[in-house]
Symmetry: C2
Subunit: 223 residues, 2 copies
DNA sequence: TAGATTGTTAATCGATTAACAATC
DNA sequence: TAGATTGTTAATCGATTAACAATC
């Protein structure tokens, strides 16, 4: 049984990553009217084992019921809370290139409570341009906006060479977390978590897997 | 000592991921004229330990030299070869929304030998539109293009609900690997590796880290 | 009730870190 | 030479899988 109060221990990162997948899947099922889901069903849909699913969910303050599984509604609610997907987060994008632009316009973000409230660039030709309802601002404006609009997290979508300076500026402005889309490893103080969503690196990883075959044991399952 | 011929054993995915980081870093150093780098230097730059770096590089057919470290030029060459970054890869993008468009225009891809040779969408309003030098084509054209242009890998940048059908189409067309940018888990046969570059999931992961503090022990180091 | 599915403990597996002889 | 840094073996740590009593 899980300790109730006090948040107990931190959830391992590997588990948190899978929890985001469970949440996405369960929200879909809930939308289809499915009320119950078993650990085995979750496992096959996600290419893992029922044992892993149950082990993962033991970190969460929610219980399944023998013979029926987990109530999609309740589980979605608890996972949303745990992952912060039920609250609103304010974000800025550093870099108004193609990638920055795409993220600023990405519909999945507002849909899940992530509000983009500013896009910044150093290029004077980009400053003043419209991206959806936002206007690209100069990097110099960033600290003021982060402070005034209580921005929580920043997205790094600048060229590799500008990654660390842009990160430093965001951190100095008081940002609480960074999503790094550049190829460069970014260094941050311990209290500012950095998550790398390495698109180009992923393609390299894929190229390796294609060349050498079945390396991605966990990722490519079934069928 | 490593076995020379026959490729020996597959390199663990965790190691491959770090190899992509070493490569990016070393290419940068090489550009700055740095000729030698030690395992300790690589480690501090990437927030890991020198032990891990040496262990990782033991999977690679390249040797350092005591007291000097690794020759950046040679190591970059070997890593490039191993990760397929020295050959050319042909790719298509499924989905001509903001994200698909950004990836089709992303300069980092051609720079690293990943050639985007087609963008596809189901939306008739998008078909025919120009994205850089490419014209958006209907999804129906995809199999013919993949066959004719010998496309290696596909990028999934469609809405979540369309992810699996689009993946199935790509796979049926003979694609050899998939980069999945959607929130949905995609199922593929064993011989088609799928790498997920989960942008939205990464933001959820980040939201969790910001809420509960130092979870990302490995990612947020130094300073 | 009988059977399915849970939560949890124990066993296995793999990845990271430490240690150190070899060597430039 | 003396000291730094490698490659590799062994020890530790953490994550996944297996197993099973509890229970709906």
């Amino acid at each position: 049984m899980k300790p109730v109060a006090g948040e107990s221990k931190p959830i391992p990162l590997s588990v948190v990553r899978r929890l985001t997948k469970y949440l996405a899947l369960i929200q879909g099922l809930k939308g289809e009217g499915v009320e119950w889901v078993s650990s085995q069903e979750l496992a096959t849909a996600l290419g893992t084992t029922s044992s892993t699913v149950r082990q993962d969910l033991s970190h969460v303050d929610f219980y399944g019921i023998s013979k029926r599984g987990y109530a999609t509604e309740g589980l979605a609610k608890v996972l949303s809370g745990l992952l912060g997907a039920d609250s609103t987060w304010r974000m800025v994008v550093a870099g108004a290139g193609n990638l920055g632009r795409a993220l600023a316009l990405h519909e999945e973000f507002p849909r899940r409570g992530f509000i983009i409230c500013g896009v910044f660039d150093v290029d004077p030709r980009k400053i003043g341009k419209k991206i959806g309802r936002l206007t690209v601002q100069g990097m110099k404006e960033l600290p003021a906006v982060v402070g005034r609009e209580k921005v929580d997290m920043g997205i790094l979508a600048v060229p590799s060479a500008a990654a660390q300076p842009a990160a430093d500026l965001l951190i100095a402005s008081g940002i609480r977390g960074l999503l790094n889309l550049t190829l460069t490893h970014v260094v941050a103080p311990r209290h500012v978590p950095v998550v790398a969503s390495r698109i180009v690196a992923s393609v390299l990883e894929l190229a390796h897997a294609v060349t050498f075959g079945s390396v991605l044991t966990a990722a490519s399952r079934n069928r």
